[in-house]
């Protein structure tokens, strides 16, 4: 396993590096970008934005709603005891349980989707440098087919140092 990467001080130079790598024939999926914080309004950071998380959370909420409907109705019918002159299946109070479980399942679905799609928990990426936590932006390629071309592209974007490991 090998990797070639460089650290950049700002989004503009990191953007140039990503463009340089693409120009050198490296596919977008093979380029690794790592930042210590989200960096908006840079094209290289806009990758992988599309997600099904909203739909999955909505579906999770629907499952919660159906589960709560089943739970409240089933338990009320399992021991049909008249309480406070309410009907056996009392929809007004049941709505509260249905609302809470809808929200709970939606939240849990969103969190599970986050963990699965973001690869958490997982092993750290092949390319990593703790200096990203000081505001630098890492751009690199793991297992490059043409390491020399990658090095040239990274250096051409203004990297002070290109690291190969």
């Amino acid at each position: 396993m090998s990797a070639v990467y460089a650290l950049y001080p700002d989004g503009d130079s990191a953007g140039r590096a990503v463009n340089g790598l693409r120009a050198a024939g490296v596919s977008g999926d093979a380029i690794t970008v790592i930042t210590g914080e989200p960096i908006e309004h840079h094209e290289f950071f806009e990758t992988d934005k599309a997600t099904w998380m909203w739909y999955i959370a909505s579906f999770g909420g629907l499952v919660g709603l159906l589960f709560a409907t089943w739970l409240t109705r089933m338990t009320e019918l399992a021991w049909p005891l008249k309480t406070g002159n309410m009907p056996i299946v009392a929809w007004w109070p049941n709505l509260i349980i249905m609302f809470e479980l809808t929200m709970l399942f939606a939240i849990l679905s969103a969190v599970i989707t986050l963990l699965v799609t973001a690869g958490l928990p997982g092993r750290r990426s092949k390319i990593y440098d703790p200096r990203v936590m000081d505001g630098r932006i890492l751009v690199g390629v793991a297992d490059p087919a043409d390491a020399a071309a990658v090095e040239r592209a990274l250096a051409g974007a203004g990297a002070a140092e290109v690291i190969r490991n």
């Binding site: 210590g36 998380m53 109070p93 969190v111 989707t113 973001a118």
Partner: protein
């Protein structure tokens, strides 16, 4: 942001984790001893029986349920405020959100403990949970107490996740900035976070979904707590306005709790550069708004009861305003309205100290408000032969004091183990695209100079 300022920000906000003075240990020992005394008192109450409390016929709810409602109210500081500020993308929220979200998590845990303490036989708590017992008797979903269980469980789960998820990138930062056991522990907590665009986008999506979901849940929680009262035909409880009244009161006390916590963090952790006068100014304005809203609800409630002139309700109203509860009632009015209105409506007084003074008043006032909702109504139900008197006993006082110590202790320990201000969010806020407009920057600079 430049590498130097990024490093400075990390160093400043990681300092509380890496440097420990003797004062920290002394404070933990002091608070821990109070919490231990509280636990011993609870054990004593369990051993001796519930008769050790001042609770008696007809006042079956008193200090413990007051504390339950109070702490659930305090919990509204965090997640709700943080979620709203996240959704409206308020830039000034960045140093505030985690301080606030922690309050929610701990206050909910403490609040949820009180119904269990109040059970007398707390080991039977699991009867509230929906599970098929050997006789297939399920909890009665038509009971407001079961609604509480579901509402608090959902809110606590959501709030803890809402707090923990944005901590993952900061755990990764601590992992990369430390050595030894810290590196191993925070490495495990960071779940292998690296910071790829995909991870950041997923985190932001999850936080947006949770922010949208958690706001109605937060509102529902205190509405459902109010249903514990308003579903009962008890004088001054059986009211349709109890839901919004409780929610407004909860947000009110929650903001006050947040201001106090932020002021303490600012002073003791030396976070003056991050928790600035602007944050206190903004929260102070919110507190003023909630004070006015609280006064409006109290006026609407009291006017309706006075005008209706229903004897049982008038009896409760007058015992609070003119009778034995009058000192507590008027203290509540002063603490919840007179002090915050006076201090926060005058710009000169809306300083950090002014906000803290008003907030302490509100915390005291809101605890009294909860007490005055619970006890006078139960003590003056309909026919005078069934009226009763309640006096708290030492066990209740000790357990109440211990929960305040527990809240402080948990907060202190949290701020020792986790960056209390979200470092990555602060850094993201300092990127050029997030820089304030010149007018805002000028105003912030002026406020900073005036109130620093």
């Amino acid at each position: 942001m430049s590498e130097a300022s990024s490093r400075k920000l990390s160093d400043d906000l990681l300092r509380p984790l890496l440097e420990t003075s003797w004062r920290f240990y002394a404070l933990v020992a002091f608070l821990g001893s109070i919490v231990l005394m509280g636990l011993c008192t609870w054990a004593y109450q369990m051993y001796m029986g519930f008769g050790m409390t001042g609770i008696n016929n007809p006042i079956f709810w008193a200090f413990y349920i007051t504390n339950f409602v109070f702490w659930i109210g305090i919990s509204h500081a965090g997640t709700l405020i943080s979620a709203i500020l996240r959704l409206v993308n308020a830039g000034w929220r960045r140093p505030v959100t985690r301080c606030a979200e922690v309050i929610t998590a701990f206050a909910l845990m403490i609040g949820a403990l009180f119904p269990i303490i109040h059970l007398g036989r707390p080991w039977l708590f699991f009867w509230l949970m929906p599970y098929p017992s050997e006789r297939l008797i399920w909890p009665n979903f038509r009971s407001p107490l079961v609604w509480d269980f579901f509402a608090i469980t959902t809110y606590l789960t959501g709030s803890v996740l809402f707090l923990v998820l944005p901590m993952i990138p900061d755990f990764a930062l601590v992992r990369d900035k430390t050595t030894g056991w810290r590196r191993r522990v925070y490495g495990a907590l960071s779940l292998g976070w690296t910071g790829t665009p995909k991870q950041w986008h997923r985190l932001e999506s999850a936080m947006s979904i949770m922010a949208i979901a958690i706001i109605p849940v937060a509102v529902s929680v205190h509405t459902i707590v109010s249903f514990d009262f308003s579903m009962a035909p008890v004088p001054m409880w059986h009211s349709t306005m109890f839901g919004p009244y409780f929610v407004a009161g909860a947000i009110f006390s929650g903001i006050a709790g947040l201001i106090i916590a932020m002021a303490a963090l600012r002073k003791f952790l030396h976070l003056e550069a991050y928790l600035q006068p602007l944050h206190f100014q903004n929260l102070g304005k919110l507190l003023l708004l909630m004070s006015l809203l609280w006064a409006y609800f109290v006026f609407a409630e009291r006017l309706t009861i006075w005008y209706g002139n229903e004897p049982s309700e008038i009896a409760v109203m007058y015992v609070t305003q003119k009778g034995s509860f009058a000192p507590l009632y008027w203290t509540m009015v002063v603490c919840n309205f007179v002090i915050p209105f006076t201090v926060l409506s005058l710009r000169k007084l809306r300083t950090i100290s002014g906000c803290v003074v008003a907030s302490f008043g509100v915390v005291v006032g809101m605890w009294l408000e909860r007490f005055l909702i619970v006890v006078p109504s139960l003590g003056h139900k309909y026919l005078p032969y069934s009226w009763g008197v309640y006096r708290p006993r030492p066990v209740e006082l000790m357990i109440t004091v211990a929960t305040f110590a527990a809240m402080t202790l948990l907060y202190v320990l949290f701020s020792k183990l986790v960056p209390i201000i979200s470092i990555w969010e602060m850094k993201a806020g300092q990127h050029p695209t997030h820089a304030p407009t010149p007018a805002v920057a000028r105003r912030e600079a002026v406020l900073g100079e005036t109130h620093a």
